[in-house]
Subunit: 217 residues, 2 copies
DNA sequence: AAGTGGTCTAGACCACTAG
DNA sequence: TAGTGGTCTAGACCACTTT
């Protein structure tokens, strides 16, 4: 275990035990460096992860305080559908439903299956001016989701999570039980302010959830 | 603008322009330091934020590569209900609905209002052994949500996001339009493996969404 | 005005791991 | 096993912001 890890452990102990209660100032970086017998840079490394996690708040001149736990950050990673499914030990399946080009936009509707049951309906729009190679892509075997990841990167991505009543396509393709809503993931990506793609991912509410965890021990 | 910011800008430019295409190795840290005429530490600082955002992947001995954009991280911050409401320029309201103690657990049901309309139903359980002072807390004016933040910190928090059909309490208190589902935030917190509190937050789907953004320009 | 955290340097050695 | 990123040091100066 590295020095900064040991120090971080000791600092979290002081916070959790309320030796340093919420709202209190903690010693300056120089003092901590002297106390632990390390360089200031090492202290800063130990502090930085605690700041990132929302345990501490730093302000110039005012020093470092134990943060009120109100605005903690949770990191969310939404990975490839196929990987989501296969990670759980399930079988992944894919079916292309519709595919058309209109007004310089390629629009694709497809279904991702888990153990042969509908898991995610992907309603995708791709800008052909933003991603010219998308005009010739074959989505009969590979989903747009997966194909796009092999392409150029994006500089901005906006994600919205919502609950919703199913729309017509959802009802048609997701085999929803009666009164079952859908969980929506809406995402739009840009490269330097040029719009690339937009997607609406809908999931049967009972078989989809997003989980996050923040831990520090 | 600091040196590491200028460098980061130039690096993102090379990635976005595909001068360094997805999957390719980029120069070693020492080479970059020489190229930009800075210390290696400064290069590392510039790289670290790009690694955190998922733009780059580092491996010992193998070097640094431009990451496939598949597993990008989005940071989600769910703040105080009251702040969520007031930030949007709305009026916040609060109403306590039920409050009981059973088996060492205090259970509170309360409603958060936005412009006098139901916004979030909070169904909360607090461990009195984990947080003894919760036995005497007055939740008639301050919500458990808000009260808990003034208390001790937690070391682990688990959050789940879900869509769902409303349960009985949701239907009773959220004034849901016909066929409207709810967006659920389920959260549980621990301090060193001691269970502290669990909450079910339900929102009318049409008036609630979670938004995230990852940007790098 | 002064003290805090923020940036930066120029080194050194370590630890992991791909070839 | 050699080369990469990871850790660490002991300094220096800067910039913000509270008092």
């Amino acid at each position: 275990m590295h020095k900064y890890e040991k120090i971080r452990l000791e600092l979290t102990r002081r916070i959790n035990s309320q030796a340093w209660p919420v709202g209190a100032s903690i010693p300056h970086e120089d003092e901590l460096a002297a106390e632990f017998g390390v360089a200031r840079g090492t202290i800063r490394q130990a502090l930085s992860s605690l700041v990132d996690a929302g345990y501490l708040e730093k302000k110039r001149r005012a020093g470092t305080r134990v943060a009120y736990p109100k605005d903690h950050a949770s990191t969310l990673r939404i990975s490839l559908v196929r990987e989501q499914v296969e990670q759980g030990g399930h079988t992944y399946g894919y079916r292309l439903l519709k595919d058309s080009i209109e007004d310089g936009i390629r629009r694709v509707l497809c279904l991702h299956l888990r153990d042969d049951a509908p898991y995610q309906l992907e309603d995708r729009e791709i800008s052909l001016s933003g991603i010219p190679s998308a005009a010739a892509a074959d989505f009969s075997q590979i989903s747009p989701n997966e194909w796009l990841l092999q392409q150029q990167p994006y500089s901005r991505v906006q994600t919205t999570l919502q609950a919703s009543a199913p729309n017509r396509n959802d009802r048609k393709h997701l085999e929803l039980p009666r009164d079952e809503p859908v969980f929506l993931v809406l995402r739009e990506t840009f490269l330097e302010e040029v719009w690339l793609t937009r997607v609406r991912l809908s999931h049967p509410a009972s078989s989809y959830s997003v989980q996050m965890e923040r831990a520090f021990d």
